[in-house]
Protein backbone atom coordinates (compact mmCIF):
# COMPACT_ATOMS: atom_id res chain seq x y z
CA UNK A 1 0.00 0.00 0.00
CA UNK A 2 1.40 3.35 -0.94
CA UNK A 3 1.88 6.39 1.20
CA UNK A 4 -0.08 9.40 0.07
CA UNK A 5 0.13 12.90 1.34
CA UNK A 6 -3.14 13.10 3.27
CA UNK A 7 -2.26 13.77 6.89
CA UNK A 8 -4.11 11.34 9.18
CA UNK A 9 -2.66 12.48 12.48
CA UNK A 10 -1.07 15.72 13.48
CA UNK A 11 -0.10 17.55 16.64
CA UNK A 12 0.37 21.30 16.53
CA UNK A 13 2.58 22.86 19.19
CA UNK A 14 1.24 20.42 21.78
CA UNK A 15 1.83 21.51 25.38
CA UNK A 16 0.99 18.97 28.05
CA UNK A 17 2.28 17.29 31.21
CA UNK A 18 1.32 15.81 34.54
CA UNK A 19 -0.74 18.15 36.71
CA UNK A 20 1.26 21.32 37.21
CA UNK A 21 4.35 19.78 35.67
CA UNK A 22 4.74 20.76 32.02
CA UNK A 23 6.70 18.13 30.08
CA UNK A 24 6.01 18.88 26.42
CA UNK A 25 6.63 22.52 25.54
CA UNK A 26 5.08 22.55 22.08
CA UNK A 27 5.68 19.45 19.98
CA UNK A 28 4.52 19.15 16.39
CA UNK A 29 4.50 15.86 14.52
CA UNK A 30 2.46 14.56 11.61
CA UNK A 31 1.77 11.19 10.06
CA UNK A 32 0.44 10.69 6.53
CA UNK A 33 -1.97 7.98 5.52
CA UNK A 34 -0.23 4.61 5.39
CA UNK A 35 3.07 6.09 6.52
CA UNK A 36 5.37 4.75 9.27
CA UNK A 37 7.06 7.48 11.29
CA UNK A 38 9.65 7.07 14.05
CA UNK A 39 9.95 9.20 17.18
CA UNK A 40 13.30 8.81 18.90
CA UNK A 41 15.03 10.66 21.69
CA UNK A 42 16.82 10.15 24.99
CA UNK A 43 15.17 8.81 28.15
CA UNK A 44 12.77 11.32 29.59
CA UNK A 45 12.55 13.33 26.37
CA UNK A 46 8.75 13.13 26.52
CA UNK A 47 8.09 10.48 23.89
CA UNK A 48 5.58 8.55 25.99
CA UNK A 49 4.08 11.83 27.16
CA UNK A 50 3.49 12.79 23.54
CA UNK A 51 1.49 9.61 22.89
CA UNK A 52 -0.52 10.02 26.11
CA UNK A 53 -1.24 13.62 25.16
CA UNK A 54 -2.44 12.58 21.70
CA UNK A 55 -4.68 9.93 23.24
CA UNK A 56 -6.47 12.29 25.59
CA UNK A 57 -4.98 10.79 28.75
CA UNK A 58 -3.31 14.04 29.84
CA UNK A 59 -4.76 17.55 30.04
CA UNK A 60 -3.68 19.54 27.00
CA UNK A 61 -2.64 23.06 28.04
CA UNK A 62 -2.36 24.41 24.53
CA UNK A 63 -1.89 23.27 20.97
CA UNK A 64 -4.06 20.79 19.13
CA UNK A 65 -4.39 17.18 18.07
CA UNK A 66 -5.96 16.58 14.66
CA UNK A 67 -7.22 13.22 13.54
CA UNK A 68 -8.16 12.97 9.88
CA UNK A 69 -8.30 16.76 9.79
CA UNK A 70 -10.78 17.03 12.68
CA UNK A 71 -9.79 18.61 15.98
CA UNK A 72 -9.88 15.89 18.64
CA UNK A 73 -7.90 17.71 21.36
CA UNK A 74 -8.96 16.45 24.79
CA UNK A 75 -11.51 13.99 23.40
CA UNK A 76 -11.93 10.85 25.52
CA UNK A 77 -10.22 7.65 24.31
CA UNK A 78 -13.42 5.83 23.34
CA UNK A 79 -14.15 8.60 20.81
CA UNK A 80 -10.64 8.42 19.37
CA UNK A 81 -10.83 4.66 19.11
CA UNK A 82 -14.07 5.01 17.19
CA UNK A 83 -12.32 7.34 14.75
CA UNK A 84 -9.59 4.86 13.90
CA UNK A 85 -6.83 5.70 16.38
CA UNK A 86 -5.29 2.93 18.43
CA UNK A 87 -2.60 3.08 21.12
CA UNK A 88 -0.32 0.44 22.64
CA UNK A 89 1.32 1.82 25.80
CA UNK A 90 4.92 1.20 26.79
CA UNK A 91 4.13 -0.71 29.99
CA UNK A 92 1.13 -2.54 31.44
CA UNK A 93 -0.25 -3.01 27.96
CA UNK A 94 -2.17 -6.26 28.49
CA UNK A 95 -4.84 -7.46 30.95
CA UNK A 96 -2.89 -10.05 32.94
CA UNK A 97 -5.78 -12.00 34.45
CA UNK A 98 -7.73 -12.27 31.20
CA UNK A 99 -7.02 -14.95 28.63
CA UNK A 100 -5.35 -14.07 25.34
CA UNK A 101 -8.67 -14.36 23.55
CA UNK A 102 -10.40 -12.14 26.12
CA UNK A 103 -7.65 -9.52 25.76
CA UNK A 104 -8.43 -9.35 22.06
CA UNK A 105 -12.17 -9.17 22.72
CA UNK A 106 -11.56 -6.17 24.97
CA UNK A 107 -9.57 -4.55 22.17
CA UNK A 108 -12.76 -4.79 20.11
CA UNK A 109 -15.13 -3.62 22.86
CA UNK A 110 -16.83 -0.95 20.74
CA UNK A 111 -17.19 -3.30 17.78
CA UNK A 112 -20.66 -4.80 17.48
CA UNK A 113 -20.13 -7.58 14.98
CA UNK A 114 -17.39 -9.41 13.21
CA UNK A 115 -15.35 -9.71 16.38
CA UNK A 116 -14.71 -13.42 15.96
CA UNK A 117 -13.66 -12.98 12.33
CA UNK A 118 -11.31 -10.16 13.29
CA UNK A 119 -9.75 -12.30 16.04
CA UNK A 120 -9.09 -15.01 13.47
CA UNK A 121 -7.49 -12.48 11.15
CA UNK A 122 -5.27 -11.14 13.90
CA UNK A 123 -4.36 -14.67 14.99
CA UNK A 124 -3.17 -15.34 11.44
CA UNK A 125 -0.58 -12.63 11.98
CA UNK A 126 0.37 -14.03 15.41
CA UNK A 127 0.13 -17.83 15.17
CA UNK A 128 1.96 -18.30 18.48
CA UNK A 129 -0.83 -16.48 20.28
CA UNK A 130 -3.52 -18.50 18.54
CA UNK A 131 -2.06 -21.69 19.97
CA UNK A 132 -2.40 -20.35 23.51
CA UNK A 133 -5.61 -18.35 23.17
CA UNK A 134 -7.30 -19.86 26.23
CA UNK A 135 -4.36 -19.25 28.53
CA UNK A 136 -4.01 -16.50 31.07
CA UNK A 137 -1.90 -13.62 29.91
CA UNK A 138 0.01 -13.41 33.19
CA UNK A 139 2.14 -16.39 32.20
CA UNK A 140 3.31 -15.03 28.85
CA UNK A 141 6.96 -14.22 28.15
CA UNK A 142 7.99 -10.63 27.44
CA UNK A 143 8.02 -11.16 23.69
CA UNK A 144 4.62 -12.77 23.59
CA UNK A 145 3.19 -10.07 25.83
CA UNK A 146 4.36 -7.41 23.37
CA UNK A 147 2.87 -9.41 20.50
CA UNK A 148 -0.44 -9.60 22.36
CA UNK A 149 -0.37 -5.89 23.13
CA UNK A 150 0.15 -5.19 19.45
CA UNK A 151 -2.59 -7.64 18.51
CA UNK A 152 -5.00 -5.95 20.93
CA UNK A 153 -4.24 -2.60 19.30
CA UNK A 154 -5.10 -4.04 15.89
CA UNK A 155 -8.53 -5.39 16.82
CA UNK A 156 -10.43 -2.39 15.46
CA UNK A 157 -8.41 -2.33 12.24
CA UNK A 158 -7.20 1.20 13.03
CA UNK A 159 -6.21 3.81 10.48
CA UNK A 160 -3.30 4.76 12.66
CA UNK A 161 -1.47 2.93 15.40
CA UNK A 162 0.56 4.59 18.17
CA UNK A 163 3.25 2.22 19.45
CA UNK A 164 5.33 3.04 22.51
CA UNK A 165 8.61 1.11 22.51
CA UNK A 166 7.25 -2.23 21.34
CA UNK A 167 10.77 -3.70 21.43
CA UNK A 168 11.69 -2.59 24.96
CA UNK A 169 13.41 -5.29 26.98
CA UNK A 170 13.35 -7.93 24.25
CA UNK A 171 16.22 -10.07 22.95
CA UNK A 172 17.63 -9.09 19.51
CA UNK A 173 15.85 -12.00 17.88
CA UNK A 174 12.48 -10.97 19.30
CA UNK A 175 13.16 -7.35 18.42
CA UNK A 176 13.40 -8.23 14.75
CA UNK A 177 10.38 -10.51 15.04
CA UNK A 178 8.20 -7.73 16.42
CA UNK A 179 9.51 -5.16 13.91
CA UNK A 180 8.69 -7.62 11.16
CA UNK A 181 5.06 -7.81 12.33
CA UNK A 182 4.82 -4.05 12.59
CA UNK A 183 6.10 -3.84 9.05
CA UNK A 184 3.45 -6.30 7.86
CA UNK A 185 0.75 -4.27 9.57
CA UNK A 186 2.02 -1.08 7.97
CA UNK A 187 2.28 -2.66 4.51
CA UNK A 188 -1.36 -3.64 4.86
CA UNK A 189 -2.24 0.04 5.07
CA UNK A 190 -2.16 1.07 8.74
CA UNK A 191 -0.17 4.20 9.46
CA UNK A 192 2.19 3.84 12.43
CA UNK A 193 3.70 6.36 14.83
CA UNK A 194 6.55 4.38 16.36
CA UNK A 195 8.31 5.54 19.54
CA UNK A 196 11.59 3.66 19.94
CA UNK A 197 14.80 3.31 21.92
CA UNK A 198 16.23 1.05 19.24
CA UNK A 199 16.78 4.11 17.07
CA UNK A 200 18.73 2.42 14.30
CA UNK A 201 16.19 -0.35 13.71
CA UNK A 202 13.30 2.06 13.97
CA UNK A 203 14.79 4.50 11.49
CA UNK A 204 15.68 1.80 9.01
CA UNK A 205 12.07 0.65 9.07
CA UNK A 206 10.46 4.08 8.79
CA UNK A 207 10.18 6.63 6.06
CA UNK A 208 10.53 9.69 8.24
CA UNK A 209 11.53 10.38 11.80
CA UNK A 210 11.44 12.95 14.58
CA UNK A 211 14.03 13.45 17.29
CA UNK A 212 12.65 14.82 20.56
CA UNK A 213 14.75 16.25 23.36
CA UNK A 214 13.60 17.84 26.60
CA UNK A 215 10.02 18.10 25.50
CA UNK A 216 10.75 19.85 22.18
CA UNK A 217 11.25 18.95 18.53
CA UNK A 218 14.97 18.64 17.99
CA UNK A 219 15.37 17.29 14.48
CA UNK A 220 13.15 15.83 11.82
CA UNK A 221 13.45 14.51 8.30
CA UNK A 222 13.82 11.50 6.04
CA UNK A 223 14.81 8.46 8.08
CA UNK A 224 17.87 7.84 5.89
CA UNK A 225 19.09 11.39 6.47
CA UNK A 226 18.65 11.04 10.20
CA UNK A 227 20.55 7.76 10.16
CA UNK A 228 23.47 9.54 8.52
CA UNK A 229 23.17 12.64 10.66
CA UNK A 230 26.26 13.19 12.76
CA UNK A 231 24.46 14.42 15.87
CA UNK A 232 21.91 11.60 15.77
CA UNK A 233 24.67 9.08 15.27
CA UNK A 234 26.68 10.41 18.18
CA UNK A 235 23.76 10.69 20.61
CA UNK A 236 21.42 7.83 19.80
CA UNK A 237 23.02 5.31 17.54
CA UNK A 238 26.15 4.74 19.56
CA UNK A 239 28.31 5.33 16.49
Amino acid sequence: MSVDSTVVLETRELVTGYGELEILHGVSVSVCSGEMVAVIGPNGAGKSTLLKGIFGLLPVQSGAVLLGGADVTGKPPDRLVQNGLSYVPQVENVFPSLTIQENLEMGAFIRRNGVRERIDEVFRLFPDLAKRKGENTGKLSGGQRQMLALARGLMLDPKILLLDEPSAGLSPKLVSAIFERINVVNKAGTAVLLVEQNAREALSLCRRGYVLAMGRNRLEGEASNLLNNEEVGRLYLGA
Binding site: F55, L57, P76, P77, D78, V81, Q82, Y87, P89, E92, N93, V94, F95, P96, S97, L98, E102, E105, M106, G107, F109, I110, R152, L156
Partner: protein, 332 residues
Protein backbone atom coordinates in the same frame (compact mmCIF):
# COMPACT_ATOMS: atom_id res chain seq x y z
CA UNK B 1 -3.96 -25.70 58.27
CA UNK B 2 -7.38 -24.42 57.29
CA UNK B 3 -7.94 -27.65 55.38
CA UNK B 4 -7.06 -29.77 58.42
CA UNK B 5 -9.40 -27.69 60.54
CA UNK B 6 -12.22 -28.18 58.04
CA UNK B 7 -11.67 -31.95 57.87
CA UNK B 8 -11.67 -32.24 61.62
CA UNK B 9 -14.77 -30.06 61.87
CA UNK B 10 -16.68 -32.12 59.32
CA UNK B 11 -15.98 -35.27 61.34
CA UNK B 12 -16.44 -33.92 64.82
CA UNK B 13 -18.89 -31.00 64.60
CA UNK B 14 -21.13 -31.86 61.69
CA UNK B 15 -24.16 -29.85 62.78
CA UNK B 16 -22.12 -26.72 63.29
CA UNK B 17 -20.51 -27.21 59.89
CA UNK B 18 -23.95 -27.41 58.27
CA UNK B 19 -24.97 -24.11 59.85
CA UNK B 20 -21.60 -22.69 58.86
CA UNK B 21 -22.07 -23.69 55.24
CA UNK B 22 -25.48 -22.02 55.19
CA UNK B 23 -24.24 -18.81 56.79
CA UNK B 24 -21.07 -19.03 54.75
CA UNK B 25 -22.98 -19.16 51.49
CA UNK B 26 -24.74 -15.91 52.47
CA UNK B 27 -21.45 -14.28 53.41
CA UNK B 28 -20.01 -15.53 50.12
CA UNK B 29 -22.67 -13.67 48.13
CA UNK B 30 -21.92 -10.47 49.97
CA UNK B 31 -18.18 -10.93 49.72
CA UNK B 32 -18.30 -11.53 45.95
CA UNK B 33 -20.10 -8.18 45.53
CA UNK B 34 -17.65 -6.47 47.86
CA UNK B 35 -14.64 -7.82 46.03
CA UNK B 36 -16.09 -6.80 42.65
CA UNK B 37 -16.66 -3.24 43.78
CA UNK B 38 -13.13 -3.19 45.12
CA UNK B 39 -11.74 -4.65 41.91
CA UNK B 40 -13.43 -2.21 39.56
CA UNK B 41 -13.52 0.95 41.70
CA UNK B 42 -10.48 0.26 43.92
CA UNK B 43 -11.97 1.25 47.23
CA UNK B 44 -13.32 -0.53 50.30
CA UNK B 45 -17.09 -0.21 50.19
CA UNK B 46 -18.03 0.18 53.85
CA UNK B 47 -21.74 0.52 53.04
CA UNK B 48 -21.89 -3.06 51.77
CA UNK B 49 -23.27 -4.63 54.95
CA UNK B 50 -25.80 -1.87 55.41
CA UNK B 51 -26.90 -2.13 51.78
CA UNK B 52 -27.52 -5.80 52.49
CA UNK B 53 -29.63 -4.89 55.50
CA UNK B 54 -31.53 -2.23 53.54
CA UNK B 55 -32.38 -4.67 50.78
CA UNK B 56 -33.69 -7.17 53.34
CA UNK B 57 -35.97 -4.45 54.76
CA UNK B 58 -37.00 -3.52 51.25
CA UNK B 59 -38.19 -7.10 50.70
CA UNK B 60 -39.96 -6.93 54.06
CA UNK B 61 -41.78 -3.78 52.96
CA UNK B 62 -42.79 -5.41 49.69
CA UNK B 63 -44.13 -8.45 51.55
CA UNK B 64 -45.90 -6.78 54.44
CA UNK B 65 -46.36 -3.20 53.35
CA UNK B 66 -45.68 -1.91 56.87
CA UNK B 67 -43.36 0.62 58.44
CA UNK B 68 -43.20 1.70 62.09
CA UNK B 69 -46.10 3.87 63.12
CA UNK B 70 -45.69 7.02 65.16
CA UNK B 71 -46.23 5.07 68.39
CA UNK B 72 -43.63 2.46 69.36
CA UNK B 73 -44.71 -1.09 68.67
CA UNK B 74 -47.53 -0.07 66.33
CA UNK B 75 -47.08 -0.62 62.61
CA UNK B 76 -48.55 1.51 59.89
CA UNK B 77 -49.57 0.13 56.51
CA UNK B 78 -48.15 2.26 53.76
CA UNK B 79 -48.35 0.18 50.59
CA UNK B 80 -51.88 -0.17 49.13
CA UNK B 81 -50.89 -3.47 47.54
CA UNK B 82 -48.13 -5.88 48.49
CA UNK B 83 -46.53 -8.96 47.04
CA UNK B 84 -48.49 -11.01 49.58
CA UNK B 85 -51.72 -9.94 47.87
CA UNK B 86 -50.78 -11.93 44.78
CA UNK B 87 -52.94 -15.06 44.60
CA UNK B 88 -51.36 -17.85 46.64
CA UNK B 89 -48.18 -15.89 47.24
CA UNK B 90 -48.07 -16.75 50.92
CA UNK B 91 -49.10 -20.40 50.66
CA UNK B 92 -46.14 -22.37 51.88
CA UNK B 93 -44.33 -24.25 49.17
CA UNK B 94 -43.11 -27.78 50.02
CA UNK B 95 -41.61 -27.76 53.51
CA UNK B 96 -40.48 -24.13 53.36
CA UNK B 97 -41.89 -21.56 55.78
CA UNK B 98 -42.75 -19.18 52.93
CA UNK B 99 -44.56 -19.06 49.60
CA UNK B 100 -43.38 -17.91 46.20
CA UNK B 101 -44.08 -14.34 47.28
CA UNK B 102 -40.72 -14.28 49.02
CA UNK B 103 -38.97 -15.01 45.74
CA UNK B 104 -40.88 -12.21 44.03
CA UNK B 105 -40.02 -9.82 46.85
CA UNK B 106 -36.39 -10.89 46.66
CA UNK B 107 -36.22 -10.26 42.91
CA UNK B 108 -37.93 -6.86 43.24
CA UNK B 109 -35.65 -5.94 46.11
CA UNK B 110 -32.66 -6.88 43.94
CA UNK B 111 -33.87 -4.47 41.27
CA UNK B 112 -34.48 -1.70 43.79
CA UNK B 113 -31.12 -2.21 45.51
CA UNK B 114 -29.27 -2.23 42.18
CA UNK B 115 -31.01 0.99 41.30
CA UNK B 116 -30.15 2.58 44.63
CA UNK B 117 -26.47 1.67 44.32
CA UNK B 118 -26.27 2.95 40.75
CA UNK B 119 -27.93 6.23 41.76
CA UNK B 120 -25.66 6.62 44.81
CA UNK B 121 -22.69 6.12 42.49
CA UNK B 122 -23.97 8.89 40.23
CA UNK B 123 -24.63 11.23 43.15
CA UNK B 124 -21.57 10.54 45.28
CA UNK B 125 -18.78 8.41 43.89
CA UNK B 126 -18.85 9.71 40.33
CA UNK B 127 -18.28 13.22 41.60
CA UNK B 128 -15.33 11.97 43.60
CA UNK B 129 -14.00 10.23 40.48
CA UNK B 130 -14.29 13.41 38.48
CA UNK B 131 -12.31 15.22 41.16
CA UNK B 132 -9.77 12.41 41.15
CA UNK B 133 -10.15 11.92 44.90
CA UNK B 134 -7.99 9.38 46.72
CA UNK B 135 -9.30 6.01 47.81
CA UNK B 136 -9.50 7.09 51.44
CA UNK B 137 -12.05 9.76 50.50
CA UNK B 138 -14.13 7.14 48.67
CA UNK B 139 -14.08 4.80 51.66
CA UNK B 140 -14.99 7.55 54.10
CA UNK B 141 -17.87 8.57 51.81
CA UNK B 142 -19.11 4.97 51.83
CA UNK B 143 -18.84 4.90 55.62
CA UNK B 144 -21.01 8.00 55.73
CA UNK B 145 -23.57 6.36 53.47
CA UNK B 146 -23.52 3.26 55.68
CA UNK B 147 -24.44 5.32 58.72
CA UNK B 148 -27.10 7.18 56.75
CA UNK B 149 -28.68 3.93 55.56
CA UNK B 150 -28.71 2.47 59.07
CA UNK B 151 -30.31 5.58 60.55
CA UNK B 152 -32.89 5.62 57.80
CA UNK B 153 -33.88 2.03 58.47
CA UNK B 154 -34.07 2.72 62.21
CA UNK B 155 -36.36 5.67 61.53
CA UNK B 156 -38.60 3.79 59.13
CA UNK B 157 -38.86 0.36 60.76
CA UNK B 158 -37.69 0.91 64.34
CA UNK B 159 -35.19 -1.09 66.36
CA UNK B 160 -37.34 -4.20 66.94
CA UNK B 161 -36.23 -7.28 65.00
CA UNK B 162 -38.63 -8.44 62.27
CA UNK B 163 -39.33 -11.72 60.49
CA UNK B 164 -40.69 -12.50 57.04
CA UNK B 165 -42.90 -15.31 58.30
CA UNK B 166 -43.86 -16.71 61.67
CA UNK B 167 -44.67 -20.22 60.51
CA UNK B 168 -42.96 -23.13 62.23
CA UNK B 169 -39.88 -24.28 60.34
CA UNK B 170 -39.62 -27.86 59.29
CA UNK B 171 -36.58 -30.06 59.47
CA UNK B 172 -35.57 -32.43 56.75
CA UNK B 173 -33.18 -35.34 56.95
CA UNK B 174 -30.44 -35.73 54.41
CA UNK B 175 -28.05 -38.63 53.86
CA UNK B 176 -25.01 -38.91 56.16
CA UNK B 177 -27.06 -38.17 59.24
CA UNK B 178 -27.47 -34.51 58.41
CA UNK B 179 -30.54 -32.67 59.63
CA UNK B 180 -31.19 -29.27 58.19
CA UNK B 181 -34.09 -26.82 58.14
CA UNK B 182 -35.91 -26.83 54.82
CA UNK B 183 -35.40 -23.06 54.71
CA UNK B 184 -31.67 -23.51 55.08
CA UNK B 185 -31.61 -25.87 52.15
CA UNK B 186 -33.35 -23.16 50.14
CA UNK B 187 -30.77 -20.59 51.27
CA UNK B 188 -27.93 -22.80 50.15
CA UNK B 189 -29.53 -23.55 46.80
CA UNK B 190 -30.36 -19.90 46.14
CA UNK B 191 -26.87 -18.74 47.10
CA UNK B 192 -25.20 -21.26 44.84
CA UNK B 193 -27.54 -20.48 41.93
CA UNK B 194 -26.90 -16.76 42.18
CA UNK B 195 -23.15 -17.30 42.47
CA UNK B 196 -23.19 -19.40 39.32
CA UNK B 197 -25.18 -16.69 37.53
CA UNK B 198 -22.68 -14.05 38.63
CA UNK B 199 -19.85 -16.28 37.47
CA UNK B 200 -21.44 -16.70 34.03
CA UNK B 201 -21.90 -12.95 33.79
CA UNK B 202 -18.27 -12.29 34.69
CA UNK B 203 -16.66 -14.93 32.53
CA UNK B 204 -19.01 -15.40 29.59
CA UNK B 205 -20.43 -11.99 28.74
CA UNK B 206 -18.72 -9.04 27.14
CA UNK B 207 -19.64 -6.63 29.92
CA UNK B 208 -18.52 -9.11 32.56
CA UNK B 209 -15.18 -9.49 30.84
CA UNK B 210 -14.93 -5.72 30.67
CA UNK B 211 -15.46 -5.60 34.45
CA UNK B 212 -12.56 -7.97 34.94
CA UNK B 213 -10.48 -6.00 32.46
CA UNK B 214 -11.14 -2.80 34.37
CA UNK B 215 -10.20 -4.45 37.63
CA UNK B 216 -6.94 -5.55 36.00
CA UNK B 217 -5.90 -2.28 34.43
CA UNK B 218 -8.31 0.69 34.37
CA UNK B 219 -6.12 2.82 32.11
CA UNK B 220 -5.75 0.12 29.49
CA UNK B 221 -9.51 -0.44 29.66
CA UNK B 222 -10.00 3.23 28.85
CA UNK B 223 -7.41 3.07 26.06
CA UNK B 224 -9.11 0.03 24.55
CA UNK B 225 -12.28 2.05 24.16
CA UNK B 226 -14.19 0.27 26.95
CA UNK B 227 -16.96 2.53 28.18
CA UNK B 228 -15.80 2.63 31.76
CA UNK B 229 -18.77 4.52 33.22
CA UNK B 230 -21.11 1.90 31.80
CA UNK B 231 -19.00 -0.87 33.31
CA UNK B 232 -18.99 0.90 36.67
CA UNK B 233 -22.79 1.18 36.62
CA UNK B 234 -23.04 -2.50 35.79
CA UNK B 235 -20.71 -3.35 38.65
CA UNK B 236 -22.98 -1.54 41.10
CA UNK B 237 -26.04 -3.19 39.61
CA UNK B 238 -24.49 -6.63 39.98
CA UNK B 239 -23.30 -5.85 43.51
CA UNK B 240 -26.84 -4.66 44.30
CA UNK B 241 -28.33 -7.92 43.06
CA UNK B 242 -25.89 -9.99 45.08
CA UNK B 243 -26.39 -7.84 48.15
CA UNK B 244 -30.18 -8.12 47.94
CA UNK B 245 -30.22 -11.89 47.61
CA UNK B 246 -27.71 -12.15 50.47
CA UNK B 247 -29.72 -9.75 52.62
CA UNK B 248 -33.03 -11.54 52.13
CA UNK B 249 -31.46 -14.95 52.73
CA UNK B 250 -29.79 -13.69 55.86
CA UNK B 251 -33.06 -12.31 57.19
CA UNK B 252 -34.60 -15.70 56.46
CA UNK B 253 -31.82 -17.52 58.30
CA UNK B 254 -31.85 -15.19 61.31
CA UNK B 255 -34.08 -12.14 61.49
CA UNK B 256 -34.20 -8.56 60.33
CA UNK B 257 -32.37 -6.16 62.57
CA UNK B 258 -31.05 -2.65 61.81
CA UNK B 259 -27.68 -3.66 63.30
CA UNK B 260 -27.35 -6.52 60.81
CA UNK B 261 -25.26 -4.54 58.35
CA UNK B 262 -22.75 -3.38 60.88
CA UNK B 263 -22.36 -6.83 62.39
CA UNK B 264 -21.75 -8.26 58.93
CA UNK B 265 -19.09 -5.83 57.84
CA UNK B 266 -16.19 -7.57 59.53
CA UNK B 267 -17.01 -11.10 58.30
CA UNK B 268 -17.58 -9.72 54.79
CA UNK B 269 -14.20 -8.01 54.70
CA UNK B 270 -12.53 -11.05 56.29
CA UNK B 271 -14.03 -13.24 53.54
CA UNK B 272 -13.04 -10.90 50.71
CA UNK B 273 -9.49 -10.48 51.99
CA UNK B 274 -9.14 -14.19 52.73
CA UNK B 275 -10.05 -14.94 49.13
CA UNK B 276 -7.67 -12.32 47.78
CA UNK B 277 -9.13 -8.86 47.19
CA UNK B 278 -10.65 -8.52 43.73
CA UNK B 279 -10.86 -12.28 43.22
CA UNK B 280 -14.53 -13.37 43.01
CA UNK B 281 -13.93 -17.10 43.20
CA UNK B 282 -11.64 -16.49 46.17
CA UNK B 283 -14.29 -14.37 47.86
CA UNK B 284 -16.80 -17.18 47.51
CA UNK B 285 -14.55 -19.69 49.25
CA UNK B 286 -13.46 -17.01 51.74
CA UNK B 287 -17.12 -16.52 52.69
CA UNK B 288 -17.62 -20.26 53.12
CA UNK B 289 -14.52 -20.59 55.29
CA UNK B 290 -15.41 -17.64 57.52
CA UNK B 291 -18.97 -18.96 57.90
CA UNK B 292 -17.84 -22.45 58.86
CA UNK B 293 -15.11 -21.33 61.22
CA UNK B 294 -17.52 -18.96 62.97
CA UNK B 295 -20.13 -21.64 63.40
CA UNK B 296 -17.68 -24.26 64.62
CA UNK B 297 -15.84 -22.02 67.03
CA UNK B 298 -19.01 -21.18 68.95
CA UNK B 299 -19.42 -24.86 69.75
CA UNK B 300 -16.22 -24.77 71.80
CA UNK B 301 -17.13 -24.96 75.50
CA UNK B 302 -14.54 -22.45 76.60
CA UNK B 303 -15.87 -19.68 74.37
CA UNK B 304 -19.10 -17.85 74.91
CA UNK B 305 -21.21 -17.53 71.73
CA UNK B 306 -20.79 -13.78 72.08
CA UNK B 307 -17.32 -14.20 70.62
CA UNK B 308 -18.74 -15.40 67.31
CA UNK B 309 -18.03 -12.22 65.43
CA UNK B 310 -14.59 -11.72 66.88
CA UNK B 311 -13.69 -14.89 65.02
CA UNK B 312 -13.85 -12.94 61.77
CA UNK B 313 -11.59 -10.36 63.33
CA UNK B 314 -9.04 -12.96 64.32
CA UNK B 315 -9.15 -14.50 60.83
CA UNK B 316 -8.67 -11.06 59.31
CA UNK B 317 -5.63 -10.29 61.47
CA UNK B 318 -4.08 -13.70 60.85
CA UNK B 319 -4.52 -13.51 57.13
CA UNK B 320 -3.12 -10.00 56.96
CA UNK B 321 -0.08 -11.14 58.94
CA UNK B 322 0.57 -14.38 57.11
CA UNK B 323 -0.75 -13.97 53.58
CA UNK B 324 -1.85 -10.40 52.88
CA UNK B 325 -2.65 -11.31 49.28
CA UNK B 326 -5.18 -13.88 50.47
CA UNK B 327 -5.33 -17.62 50.01
CA UNK B 328 -6.00 -17.47 46.31
CA UNK B 329 -4.04 -14.36 45.34
CA UNK B 330 -5.39 -10.87 44.88
CA UNK B 331 -6.80 -9.74 41.51
CA UNK B 332 -9.85 -10.63 39.58
Amino acid sequence: MILLFLIWAVIDRRDAVVIGVVEGSILALGAVGLTLVYGVLKFAHFAHGDSMMLSAYCAFLLLSGVVSGSRPGVDAEVLPITVSDLPGATTEVWKFSFGYGLLVAMALSALVTSGILVVLDRLVYRRLRQRKSGIVIFSIASLGLAIAIRSLVLMVWGPTPRKYTTTVRENIDLPFDITILADQLFILAAAITVTVLAYILLFRTKLGKAMRAMADNPELALISGIRTELVIALTWALAGGLVAVAGVLLALQAQLDPQLGFVLLLPLFAAAILGGVGNPQGAFFGGMIVGIVQAVVVTFDFLSPGYKFSVAFVILILILLIRPRGLFGARL
